[in-house]
């Protein structure tokens, strides 16, 4: 089993403040890795460093290395645009493109990147992605409606479909289920298990059960530090560190 994504001494800053501190983590290929930790501990920031989205924030920068298949994506010769095509992302808040229809939203990554895609191919990918994101049955009769006309939870699944449509190798999900009802959440969790064979998945979650159910590995972050990383089973049944135990049993603080 290969290490798809590896971080080495990864630091992330907002101006002078260091939000992520010297993280060394390994995300094995074809596995789901959960990132847990209290609010504000740097989960989103850390995950955004993995596809070079952190530097998009004004005043933010990162240092250290992130190796994708052994190649450092922070190397000066690497184009961040190419990195992001290989490492897709679903954000905490749903962000459909308001001017685009549902199907255009799903196809956005394809049509904006390569003009020469046939109509039939596009429709096939749209349907496949929407099915994977458990949204197809709800929207198949009005694909031409604006993406913003969906409910919050549907919008989030639309964003999942949009990320899947470009077929990235790694999928970063930042609390993808925080706006979803239990049924859609269950569907997304099923989706994770389905996708695992082809994708490497990193999921940030506040939901311990979700982390325990879906992930193979779990990393616990606290105040920007990586406190503990290991097999999910071990983290949840036999954590080595006191802080981890306190957090997952809800005895924090």
């Amino acid at each position: 089993m290969a290490d798809k994504l590896v971080t080495r001494h990864l630091n992330a800053y907002f101006n002078q403040t260091r939000a992520v501190k010297d993280i060394n983590l390994t995300f094995p290929e074809g596995k789901v890795t959960a990132i847990i930790g209290p609010s504000g501990c740097g989960k989103s920031t850390m995950v955004r460093c993995l596809n070079r989205m952190h530097e998009v924030v004004p005043g933010a920068h990162a240092d250290g290395e992130v190796l994708l298949d052994g190649e450092n994506i922070y190397d000066s010769a690497v184009d961040p645009v190419q990195v992001r095509r290989r490492i897709g992302m679903v954000f905490q808040k749903p962000t459909p493109f308001p001017t685009m229809s549902i199907e255009d939203n799903v196809a956005a990554g394809l049509t904006l990147n390569s003009a020469g895609i046939s109509r039939a191919e596009r429709n096939r990918i749209v349907e496949k992605s929407l099915r994977q994101a458990a949204l197809w049955d709800e929207v198949k009769d009005h694909l031409r409606r604006p993406g913003g006309s969906l409910s919050g939870g549907q919008q989030q699944r639309l964003c999942v479909a949009r990320a899947l449509a470009v077929e990235p190798e790694v999928l970063l999900m930042d609390e993808p289920c925080s706006a979803l009802d239990p049924i859609s959440t269950a569907r997304i969790e099923e989706l994770l298990l389905e996708l695992k064979s082809n994708y490497t998945i990193v999921i940030v979650t506040h939901n311990m059960q979700q982390a325990a159910r879906t992930s193979d590995y779990t990393a616990f972050l606290y105040q920007g530090d990586l406190i503990e990383f290991g097999e999910t089973n071990q983290i949840f049944t036999n954590p080595k560190r006191r802080e981890t135990e306190d957090y997952i049993t809800g005895r924090f603080g």
Partner: protein, 288 residues
């Protein structure tokens, strides 16, 4: 603390205060609207009685002769304003996009400051400027000089509205597009500008309405022409200048045509403003 019980008299007094303030605001509104309706009413009255088909289809007659129309000036206004848009809209939107994307920094601050100053410059000054840099070196008045003058007036308006509209686009949308592996420039054009498009279009239409009514800068630049001309390097007639020339003339028939011209101009501007309402309404309905 227990709830206060108001006496009957204080209730009556508060009611009086409320009614009084209401009356004051209604009165202020009426005072504001009276001149508007007087101007519009008088314009429609004088303009409509002076308007005839020949006004749209005929050329101006020789001095002192009755009849004729402003066909050349109507076409001229569209030409001068149209070319001004071709120059001003891309520059304005481009500058606005730049300001929105590089909001901090000395250069952006300078550009923003210049745009604000330019908005305050009297239009006649812009006319003199265009005269100095175009009319004088070329040795004659021209459509091009008029369009450049109007474009200079238009650019800061378009720049600032574009910037405001783009800033309103949530940062998350840009990130969503970038995270799909869409390059920066394409994100700006296909996602950011497109999302802000109805707002930008509104700004552009309002700027067009503004320049369509300009007279002073055209006096030095497009100048006016009693004959048919659509050439870029010849003087050209425009409604505003024609209205001005006819209105101050001693001939009653010309004065009549000035009213007609003023009405046509007002209707054009009004149509543009209605266009704004239409542009801003349509996507709002589709989005929710």
């Amino acid at each position: 603390m227990a709830g206060t019980v108001y006496k009957e008299s204080s209730h009556a007094f508060r009611k009086f205060k409320s009614d009084f303030m209401m009356a004051v605001t209604v009165a202020a509104t009426i005072v504001t609207l009276i001149p508007l309706f007087l101007v519009l009413g008088y314009l429609v009255f004088k303009g409509a009685t002076s308007l005839n088909w020949a006004f749209f289809t005929h050329m101006p007659t020789p001095v002192g002769e009755k009849g004729g129309g402003m066909a050349n000036a109507i076409v001229g206004t569209f030409e001068v304003v149209g070319i001004a848009c071709l120059i001003g809209v891309p520059i304005g939107i481009g500058a606005g996009l730049f300001l929105a994307e590089h909001r901090l920094g000395r250069f952006a601050d300078t550009v923003r400051f210049c745009a604000d100053v330019m908005m305050g410059v009297p239009s006649i000054v812009v006319g003199i400027f265009a005269y100095a840099v175009l009319v004088h070196p070329m040795g004659r008045f021209s459509t091009l000089a008029g369009s450049v003058a109007l474009a200079i007036i238009m650019i800061p308006l378009v720049t600032r509205t574009t910037e405001e509209m783009i800033i309103l686009v949530p940062h998350e949308l840009r990130e969503a597009a970038l995270a799909l592996g869409v390059p920066q420039w394409k994100t700006s054009l296909s996602v950011i500008v497109r999302t802000a498009l109805s707002g930008i279009a509104t700004g552009v239409i309002l700027a067009i309405a503004r320049i369509a009514g300009e007279t002073a800068p055209l006096l030095f630049t497009a100048f006016g022409n009693r004959f048919w001309s659509t050439s870029l390097v010849q003087p050209i007639a425009t409604l505003t200048v024609q209205v001005y020339t006819y209105a101050i003339s001693p001939f009653p028939d010309w004065q009549r045509q000035a009213w007609a011209g003023a009405l046509v101009l007002t209707v054009i501007v009004l149509a543009l403003e209605l266009g704004v309402r239409w542009v801003t309404r349509a996507p709002a309905k589709a989005a929710r």
